[in-house]
Structures are given as C-alpha cells and as structure tokens.
C-alpha cells in the first residue's frame, strides 16, 4: 500500500483538527487505532508498539489514576495526560508520513500543489539541509569538547549566553557559507529556469488514497455523530 504524500498530509490535517474538537474517548481510540494500523501496515512495528503502549498508558491514567487524586492534583495530571494523548494520533501520522515518504517524493507532491516557486525552493533546501545540520552540530560539539567546553544541558544552564555563543556562531557562520555554496550550485544547474520542471519521482493518487480518504471522512462523520449523541 503506497499512499500519495498529499493524502498523508490531508489525513494528518483531518486528524489534528478533529481530535481537539472531539469529546468522545471511543472516537479518539478509533482515530489512534487507524493511525496505528497505517503505521503497522507500512512495516514500522516497533513504532506501532511504542505508540500503542504510550497511548494506552495515558488512557489508563485518565480513567483510573486521576479519580484517585485530590481534585487539584488530579486536574493537573489530567490536563497533562490528556493533552499529550490528544497529540499522539498526530504524532503517529506524522511519523508515518516521515518514515514512509522520501524527501524527493514529498517535494514532488509539494510541487504538484502549485505553491509559489520560491516557497518550494526554500522548503526543498530546508528538508535537504536537515542531515547537514546534524553533521555540523556533531562537529561543533566535538570542537567544543576538544576545548573543554561542555555542550550538555548542564553547561547550558550554568552559562547560557556563553554556550549559545559557542554553538550559534560556528553553526550560523557555516550555514551562511553553505547557503552561498548551494546557491551557486543551484544556479549552475538552472534553478532559475522559468519553465515548469519535470520530476524523477512519479506522484499520483491511487485506489488506496481514495479508500483512506473515504475512511477518514467517515471517521469525521462518526465524530460529529458521537459529539451530538454524547458517546463516552
């Protein structure tokens, strides 16, 4: 089952909006379950199990632990548990989107959405720069360690401004240089060409996309029904 990135964005949008409008726990479980199913079907069993355990734990806290506490403490625990749990279905779909979509697929889909070209370029650079930034960060940390400066949270708390300086200056300087280099490379390869560009990746909707979208529309309808009827 291969879904179009646009479908994934769409179901993510539906889920994140409806989960906070929803009042029924049953509906919330169905939303979470659908997300888990998608994750499992795409072969990410470890993540599926992790999210399932986390979700169930937070659910049990709300149902069984919160009433045991006095009201004030219970309220705080409730807020925390429920808030995070409501984000979980979105986290699931988010990690489903990230784990199953290559950057080039995602960009191909974004291009097809006919956003302004500048935004597409900026977004492409953003996504491509991710791994580079990781490398930069680990070299900066090494360099700091060599000079006996700790980049750990403790060091950050002790000397916040200094640590910020030590991390930011090399990171931003190298980012500036890299952005100049990327610009030159991109212009050489004709990024300023005005015509519509073609793409190696083939992005198209399939029957699966239709099914998943229909499923989510049904879920939203179910949620509205449950809200009306006050289902638990």
């Amino acid at each position: 089952m291969k879904l179009d990135p646009r479908t994934k964005l769409f179901i993510l949008a539906i889920t994140s909006v409806s989960i906070f409008l929803n009042r029924s726990i049953t509906v919330e479980c169905i939303f979470a379950g659908t997300g888990l199913l998608l994750l499992a079907l795409s072969g990410h069993l470890k993540k599926t199990i992790k999210y399932t355990v986390f979700f169930l734990a937070l659910l049990l806290i709300q149902l069984y632990v919160v009433p045991l506490f006095p009201v004030t403490v219970g309220g705080i625990v409730y807020m925390f548990a429920v808030y995070i749990r409501k984000l979980l279905p979105c986290f699931m779909l988010g990690s489903f989107l990230i784990a199953t979509t290559s950057v080039s697929k995602f960009l191909a889909a974004i291009t097809k959405m006919r956003l302004p070209k500048g935004l597409t370029i900026a977004l492409a650079v953003t996504l491509r720069y991710f791994p580079t930034m990781g490398e930069e960060w680990s070299s900066i940390r090494d360099a700091m360690a060599l000079r006996g400066i700790s980049a750990s949270p403790v060091g950050l708390l002790m000397h916040p401004v200094q640590t910020m300086e030590h991390v930011y200056v090399p990171m931003l300087v190298s980012a500036s240089k890299i952005s100049d280099e990327i610009t030159q490379a991109a212009i050489t390869r004709g990024i300023e060409h005005a015509n519509e560009r073609t793409c190696m990746e083939n992005v198209a909707f399939s029957v699966w996309d239709l099914l998943v979208i229909l499923l989510y529309i049904a879920l939203v309808a179910g949620m509205i029904y449950a809200n009306r009827k006050g289902v638990f």
């Binding site: 964005l9 993510l12 949008a13 994140s16 909006v17 906070f20 009042r23 709300q62 009433p67 009201v71 004030t72 219970g74 309220g75 705080i76 409730y78 807020m79 925390f80 429920v82 808030y83 984000l87 979105c90 986290f91 699931m92 779909l93 988010g94 990690s95 989107l97 990230i98 500048g118 935004l119 370029i121 900026a122 977004l123 492409a124 650079v125 953003t126 720069y129 991710f130 930034m133 949270p153 916040p160 401004v161 910020m164 300086e165 930011y168 200056v169 990171m171 931003l172 300087v173 980012a175 500036s176 952005s179 100049d180 990327i182 610009t183 991109a186 212009i187 990024i191 300023e192 638990f232």
Partner: protein
C-alpha cells in the same frame, strides 16, 4: 549586501531562507521539546524558546532584509510543525505572526533595530498556540469527572488550575520580555561576530 536596492526575493534569498528557517525551527523544536517534557517547565516553553531563537532571528533579518522572507519563515515553521504532528494551532499562529512580523520589519526597512525587535516579539508569541487547548480542557475535565459521578461540582477549583484569566496575559508578557532579552543577545552576538566576519 550589494543588492540592498533590489527588494524582491531572488533564488539566493530563497536558499538562505530555507537554511535559516530550518535552524530557527530546529532551535525552537529542541529547546521547546526539552521545556515541554516536565509539567513544571511546561507553561514556560514560549519564554524559553524566545530566549534562544533571538540570535537566529536577528541574523535572519540582517541577512535577508526583504519583504516576504519572514512570511516564508512562518510558512516553513508551520509546515515542519504540522508534519511532525504538533498541535495545528501552533502552525496557524506561525503563519499569521510570520506575516505580521514581516510587515513590522518592512515598515522599518529591516534596518531599524526597534522595529525588528518588535517583530521578533510578535514571532516569539507563535508557540503560544500550543496552549489554546488548555483553555478548553478544564471544561472537558469537569465533564469527565461529572460523568464519573464522583464529584458534584468544582468549577472553582478547575478554574484555579487552567482557566484563570491572568495566566494568558502573564505568559504573553513573560514571552515578550524573554523575546526582548533574546533579541538583545542576538544583536550583541551579531555585532561581535557576524558583522566582523562579513556575513551580514
């Protein structure tokens, strides 16, 4: 740099926008993520983030002083937040505040530090979107407890937890103060390092 008279974004600007937006978003993510992990620091997330993103913001404005750049920063931050499954109101806030910050900066021609700082204060408020559900949740908690039938009514207590009227303004003021500090640190670093190195 030497293109100060050209006020339209070009390819090179878009590429800078992409890279610096990522740095901005990652800093906000990492710092915000750490801040949100414990219930005690949870409400302080926007303030802590505001302290740290100041430098990136100031460099961003200094490097790409053109209209539209901050809007794209908002859009990219919104997309990254949305795709990772964060609460969608935060994305909406980033979109709106990005556009507002863009207008404020543009009105000062991107050179007025005061205007830039004001814009940063606006931008720094975007993570507040994460707390919108908190306004709705006391009610749901109330309903949940009533469903359980353990308590009759304790709206007063609930409101003392989440619905107190002063929490929101207090958070906004705290965030603005932190944003000003963050912005000042940013300007200091900018003067000390980046201007000397010829990056701005």
């Amino acid at each position: 740099m030497n293109k100060a008279n050209v006020n339209k974004l070009e390819t090179r600007d878009f590429i800078s926008v992409g890279i610096f937006s990522l740095i901005y978003a990652v800093v906000a993510f990492v710092v915000g993520g750490i801040a949100q992990m414990t219930p005690v620091t949870f409400p302080f997330m926007p303030m802590i983030v505001a302290l740290f993103t100041g430098t990136v913001f100031m460099l961003y404005v200094a490097r790409i002083p053109k209209k539209g750049a901050l809007t794209i920063l908002g859009v990219i931050a919104a997309i990254l937040l949305f795709v990772t499954g964060m609460f969608w109101m935060m994305s909406v806030f980033f979109l709106i505040f990005g556009i507002i910050a863009d207008f404020i900066c543009a009105s000062g021609d991107f050179r007025s530090f005061r205007k830039n700082l004001t814009a940063y204060c606006v931008m720094a408020l975007a993570p507040m979107g994460a707390y919108i559900p908190m306004a709705v949740m006391p009610e749901q908690f109330d309903a949940f407890m009533k469903n359980k039938g353990d308590f009759a009514s304790f709206e007063g207590v609930i409101h003392s937890i989440g619905g107190t009227w002063w929490i929101l303004p207090a958070m906004v003021i705290g965030t603005v103060v932190c944003a000003i500090i963050g912005g000042l640190i940013g300007r200091k670093l900018l003067k000390k390092h980046f201007e000397k190195a010829g990056i701005v």
